[in-house]
């Protein structure tokens, strides 16, 4: 790829990027969240068109107008969020791209099935062609994605954050598999996990703010060099070093059963307690009940049996409004669709939970002055980057949206905070800020339930670590006893 440039409204996503990969080589594309890695790969796969620049495959210039062109050139991609239709079988999903099986009036699924079995055998990727996608685990779905790209004739594989949803053991298996495949294929993989990068890749390209800051061979550099190059400065993420003093039990969840949207039991006899002034990190592969737990605590999901007690008060199945009134704070998983009202101004978003409060009302009308003052103050204190407080909150960057939510929740002086994936998708600067705030509040006595997929985050911040698997708490360890290997096994249900 040479001199690739791509613009989105208000953002230069790709700034004159050039990189190259040889046959049988593995290139790691590294950078913080928001650096532009996924965008670049989407250009390569024909999903986006570059504004400037050229792509060469085997020396020939290629112009990809759609993914079909990319497939024809032998490229295949496994996206970070799997591109599989849930209520179709594995065979049907692969048949969507397997044009050879498309006859005018009949879909030759048998042909697709045969090819799947062939590929599966050759590469040692076992998949059940007749299984529906929704029945498969995350690891199994990833195998399906790999088989899919191979069936569609990929000689060149792109993997976007392949290990983000895997346990440490599954990650090791995947890396071994990929190493084997390099005898046939070239690979680009995107990651921000330095361990994998050093294990697997031959070359590294580092992106920052959409531009290449480094291109070189992996074996020539140490992980810390790479980390520094990624962020442009030495970044030390805040660590929870203080020993907590045991305080009152703030939140006690006892034997709760909660159903998911699909009707399955998402939380199965789950029990957990968190004290004030302590951070309990909930580790686990996404999809094991984390969302349902956060929602149940906040009154957003029905608890079928069991109890949730908050400072001695039973809050099981209370309305969200009542739970908020009891002093619960919540940083939800999806900032845009659960945390803020995107079309409302930043100013209006700060009072989302307090629109009826005395402070913000004068008689029956809202007190515009106080609301505006509050907004300015928060914007300053939390270093939220925006031209003013009037702009629609939805137009802010991810990090700033998260800051708005954090500011709102923290300054309401809650007695407890449930934080779900608080730094997901944020650049290191914003992540650092948020972690600092969480630690500061912990010191002031706030109890925090931190739900995260990133073991680094959990290990850095928690006093105790709980592992959730299939809706049940496997074990709760004090921080001193929790290491990656142990947690990895618990996360996999061992």
């Amino acid at each position: 790829m040479e001199h690739i440039t791509k613009r989105f409204p208000g953002v230069l996503a790709s700034d004159d990027i050039s990189l190259s990969v040889g046959e049988g080589e593995v290139l790691a594309l590294v950078g913080e969240n928001g650096a532009g890695k996924t965008t670049l790969m989407n250009i390569l796969m024909g999903l986006y068109q570059q504004d400037e620049g050229k792509i060469f495959i085997n020396g020939q210039e290629m112009r990809f107008h759609s993914p079909n062109d990319a497939f024809a050139a032998g490229l295949g991609m496994v996206h970070q969020q799997y591109m599989l239709v849930p209520n179709m079988t594995v065979t049907e999903n692969i048949a969507l791209g397997y044009k050879q099986a498309w006859k005018p009036w009949k879909l030759d699924l048998a042909k697709v099935r045969n090819h799947i079995m062939e590929v599966s055998q050759t590469y040692g990727l076992s998949v059940d062609p007749d299984a529906y996608i929704w029945q498969l685990s995350v690891g199994e779905q990833q195998r399906v994605e790999l088989v899919k790209t191979l069936c569609l004739g990929a000689r060149f594989l792109i993997l976007d954050e392949p290990t983000s949803a895997l346990t440490p053991q599954e990650t090791d298996e995947l890396i071994a598999l990929l190493k084997k495949m390099t005898s046939d294929l070239s690979i680009i993989f995107i990651s921000h996990k330095l361990q994998e990068v050093t294990d697997l890749s031959d070359k590294i390209t580092i992106l920052r703010h959409g531009a290449v800051v480094f291109n070189g061979n992996t074996k020539d550099h140490s992980p810390s060099d790479i980390a520094a190059l990624m962020t442009g400065h030495e970044v030390v993420m805040p660590q929870n070093k203080e020993k907590g003093t045991l305080q009152a039990e703030a939140l006690v969840v006892k034997n709760i059963n909660v159903r998911s949207d699909r009707g399955f039991l998402a939380l199965n006899d789950l029990s957990l307690s968190v004290h004030s002034g302590e951070i309990v990190g909930l580790a686990g592969v996404s999809g094991n009940g984390q969302r349902e737990l956060a929602e149940a605590i906040n009154g957003l999901r029905h608890v079928e049996s069991g109890t949730i007690t908050f400072y001695g008060q039973d809050i099981t199945n209370k309305t969200p409004h009542d739970v908020i009134k009891e002093g619960m704070g919540y940083i939800p998983e999806e900032r845009n669709t659960e945390g803020i009202v995107p079309p409302f101004s930043m100013k209006e978003n700060f009072i989302l939970k307090d629109s009826s409060a005395q402070t913000y009302n004068k008689g029956i009308f809202l007190n515009k002055k106080i609301i505006a003052q509050n907004a300015s103050r928060l914007r300053k204190d939390f270093d939220i980057r925006s031209p003013n407080t009037e702009i629609a909150a939805g137009t802010l960057s991810g990090g700033n949206i998260q800051k708005v939510i954090l500011a709102r929740e923290i300054t309401r002086e809650p007695k407890f905070l449930v934080a779900v994936y608080p730094i997901r998708g944020l650049d290191l600067g914003a992540a650092q800020f948020i972690h600092e705030q969480l630690l500061a509040k912990r010191k002031e006595g706030l109890g925090i339930l931190l739900i995260s997929e990133e073991l680094d985050e959990i290990l850095a911040l928690s006093d105790r670590v709980a592992v959730i698997f299939k809706g049940h708490i496997q074990q709760i360890l004090p921080r001193s006893e929790a290491d990656r290997r142990k947690l990895g096994m618990l996360m996999a249900g061992v």
Binding site: T319, P320, V323, E338, I340, P342, P343, F344, L352, F365
Partner: protein, 361 residues
């Protein structure tokens, strides 16, 4: 990107929208061989020719404003009310029932009572889809439409049986309508020689009330939040289900009020065809007025023009009055499409870069 460009860009888009509307309407006009520009001229300008015609436009502006205000409240709260026709009909029935039952109360008591009855009738009918959506997640798009048809049948039944004018029964001419209602509920016609009645002040008063309610109170904030992002509102502790029902009570109540005002100000009896089209026209007015009282009043006037002008086109240029419905449909389609274009920042940037490049190259 300069501010100038932004303004120019938006103006051009709006102009294109107007042209698209006229072009799409022209397709039908050309199909029937009517003179396109002359027809549009009649529709928009003919009703402004004299005081009498203008007063007729204003008479239609009144129910359009009231209904559109109600629809705007619902829309902003996240629920699309297509049922204004039915809610208006129920409001008319309630008002008529009160007027028939207790005609001898003095005007200062009976008139407000009649109006409140109209509001109540419409509000209750509107509450049905509201509750269905809040409690059972039934899409209001289908339930409100069905309730329109149900209300239409019920209305005809009432006019044919329980509320039938005794005079009709004896003469046997069979027109389903109620008898003339007592003068005690008549809204005063304050401009001699026209039918323009004091309902216009009611419409303006409610526009002001809605403005303050939605934008200046905590309840209004909650309703707008629920409409803008239902999930976030719920996560923020707002009782979305409650506000959905409240929004429909407002919306239905306003439609019912419009019906009551029409009875008390214009027709003075319940007849067939009072609602015809107002419920749907109200939706277009609400959208055209940007879902804001300040925009709805002029939009309602414009559509009053369309309605009066549309009645005149048959005689003037041989275009059936149904053409107004065509234009209303086209306007809705163009408005929703235009809104998407205007909010597409990516497109605006692309156009900026293309034109800017040409200027500098």
């Amino acid at each position: 990107m300069t501010k100038q460009f932004r303004i120019l860009y938006k103006t051009v888009i709006l102009l294109l929208a107007v042209l698209a509307t006229m072009a799409l309407g022209a397709i039908i006009l050309l199909a029937i061989g009517a003179p396109v520009m002359k027809t549009y001229g009649v529709i928009v300008f003919a009703p402004l020719k004299n005081i009498g015609l203008i007063s007729e436009v204003l008479i239609r502006t009144i129910p359009l404003t009231i209904i559109a205000l109600g629809i705007a409240v619902a829309y902003r709260s996240g629920i699309i009310n297509i049922g204004a026709e039915g809610q208006m009909a129920m409001g008319i029935l309630a008002t008529t029932a009160v007027a028939l039952a207790i005609p001898n109360l003095p005007k200062p008591i009976l008139l407000p009572l009649a109006l409140v009855a109209g509001i109540t009738g419409g509000a209750l009918w509107g509450a049905i889809p509201g509750v269905l959506k809040a409690k059972l997640q039934v899409s209001e798009l289908l339930s409100t439409v069905m309730l329109n048809y149900i209300a239409e049948q019920f209305y005809t039944f009432c006019l044919r049986k329980p509320m039938l004018d005794p005079a009709e029964m004896t003469t046997g001419s069979g027109t389903p309508q109620s008898m003339r209602l007592t003068k005690n509920i008549w809204l005063t016609r304050f401009i001699p020689g026209t039918r323009l009645h004091t309902g216009i002040f009611i419409a303006i008063a409610f526009a002001i009330i809605i403005y303050f309610m939605l934008w200046k109170t905590a309840s209004g904030y909650k309703m707008r939040a629920a409409g803008a992002s239902q999930r976030s509102a719920r996560y923020g502790g707002i009782n979305v289900a409650k506000y959905l029902v409240i929004a429909m009570l407002f919306s239905g109540g306003f439609a019912g009020l419009a019906g009551a005002v029409e009875i008390c100000g214009v027709h003075h009896r319940a007849i067939q065809g009072i609602t015809s089209g107002y419920g749907f026209s109200g939706i277009v007015v609400a959208l055209f007025g940007g879902l804001h009282p300040a925009g709805i009043i002029p939009a309602a006037f414009f559509f009053g023009l369309l309605l009066v002008g549309g009645n005149m086109t048959q005689n003037a240029v041989g275009v059936p009055a149904n053409m107004v419905q065509v234009l209303q449909g086209v306007i809705i389609l163009v408005i929703v499409a235009t809104q998407m274009v205007l909010s597409n920042a990516y497109l605006m940037e692309k156009v900026w870069r293309k034109t800017h490049k040409e200027a500098t190259s």
